[in-house]
């Protein structure tokens, strides 16, 4: 090995070690820089979280929560009211029905109306059996009458008929605005 080649090898080695050295230095500096950059970023993020938390505390105030509670209360009330209003039943329709469907020769002396069962039990009297049959027939022909059953009937000395009938009505008759 001559002196020239030894010198060339030493110079190349020195250049390589210089590159590695400066790369190592720049890596060290970069990592220190990164550390400080992250420190600054973390600080700003923490500041942002704090600002957001403070802003959120100002949103759900006692006044706003009170309004929220009122809204929920009315939401439930409106839902309940709608439900009851849709199912609301009217009994005065039944009286209008009875008045229009009762024959002149028939009288009712006792009326038992059950809105729950959509039925009425009528106790009354008629001039004779023929009139009672016509009354029952009138009821049967009516669109709101589903079924009629005679509980009892008896002929009095005067020839009048005392009767008791059950009329099953269409539930629509009890609807407020049918």
């Amino acid at each position: 090995m001559d002196l020239n080649s030894i010198s060339k090898f030493t110079k190349e080695k020195s250049l390589f070690s210089d590159i590695v050295f400066y790369v190592a230095i720049s890596l060290l500096v970069s990592s220190i820089l990164c550390y400080f950059i992250f420190l600054i970023k973390i600080s700003s993020q923490k500041e942002r979280v704090k600002v957001l938390e403070d802003s959120m505390l100002q949103i759900g105030t006692a006044e706003q929560k009170e309004k929220e509670a009122i809204i929920f209360k009315y939401q439930k009330k409106i839902a309940d009211y709608t439900k009851f209003l849709n199912n609301h039943k009217s009994t005065s329709n039944v009286f209008a029905f009875l008045e229009s469907q009762t024959l002149p020769e028939v009288w009712f002396s006792r009326i038992n109306l059950s809105e729950r069962e959509n039925k009425i039990i009528l106790t009354g009297e008629s001039g004779n059996m023929d009139i009672l049959s016509r009354q029952i027939s009138t009821f049967e022909k009516n669109e709101f009458v589903k079924k009629i059953s005679i509980l009892n009937s008896s002929v009095w000395d005067s020839g009048k008929i005392k009767f008791s009938i059950t009329v099953d009505l269409d539930p629509i008759l009890f609807v407020s605005n049918y």
């Binding site: 050295f21 990164c34 959120m56 949103i59 439930k76 009994t91 009875l98 038992n112 109306l113 809105e115």
Partner: protein, 182 residues
């Protein structure tokens, strides 16, 4: 000199790795976590802001419809005492020309276990003529409170409906009335 530079390079690289491992990387993880936290807080803030803005809108809308809400309040009152109901029924019966003989409070029970609405029932024994009863029923149906007459039974010797309509004769009526409250 060359050996000493080599050692310094190794030492620097070792220090860099240690610095990254013990200081930079934990700070990076903390930064990433905070970034996620900020994004979540921002989303939460935006959602909460939009929610309460909507609450304010609805509240203003309710304020505008106060009259309708008063009707609902009357229909479904928060009853702590039955006195207002009793007073209402007595007022309506006397306005219709009926006389209250008995007024029984029969039931106040929740419609279902999960429901806060209670069903309040009254049994009302009244005296008066058929026209007065019809007026009373009509006024109950037209009142803001949602009253329902679930049962009516009446009868006496004079005839009620039909024939020569004796609607001005007095009769005794027994009514079962239902309403709702909270």
């Amino acid at each position: 000199m060359a050996i000493s530079r080599f050692l310094i390079t190794i030492l620097i690289l070792f220090t860099t790795v240690a610095l990254i491992w013990f200081f930079v990387f934990p700070k990076y993880v903390e930064f990433k976590n905070l970034q996620t936290e900020v994004a979540l807080k921002e989303a939460e803030y935006n959602a909460k802001y939009a929610y309460y803005a909507e609450i304010l809108n609805i509240s203003n809308e309710l304020e505008r419809r106060k009259e309708s809400l008063n009707k609902i309040d009357t229909a479904l009152p928060d009853i702590t005492s039955l006195a207002p109901l009793v007073y209402f029924l007595q007022k309506k019966t006397s306005e219709s020309g009926l006389i209250v003989k008995d007024l029984f409070f029969t039931k106040a029970s929740a419609i279902s276990a999960k429901d806060a609405v209670k069903e309040v029932s009254f049994s009302l024994n009244i005296n008066g003529n058929y026209s007065a009863l019809k007026n009373f029923l009509f006024s109950l149906e037209k009142s803001a409170s949602l009253f329902e007459v679930i049962n009516i039974s009446f009868g006496s010797s004079p005839n009620l409906i039909g024939g020569a309509n004796k609607s001005m004769q007095n009769h005794s009526f027994l009514l079962e009335i239902k309403t709702h409250s909270y």
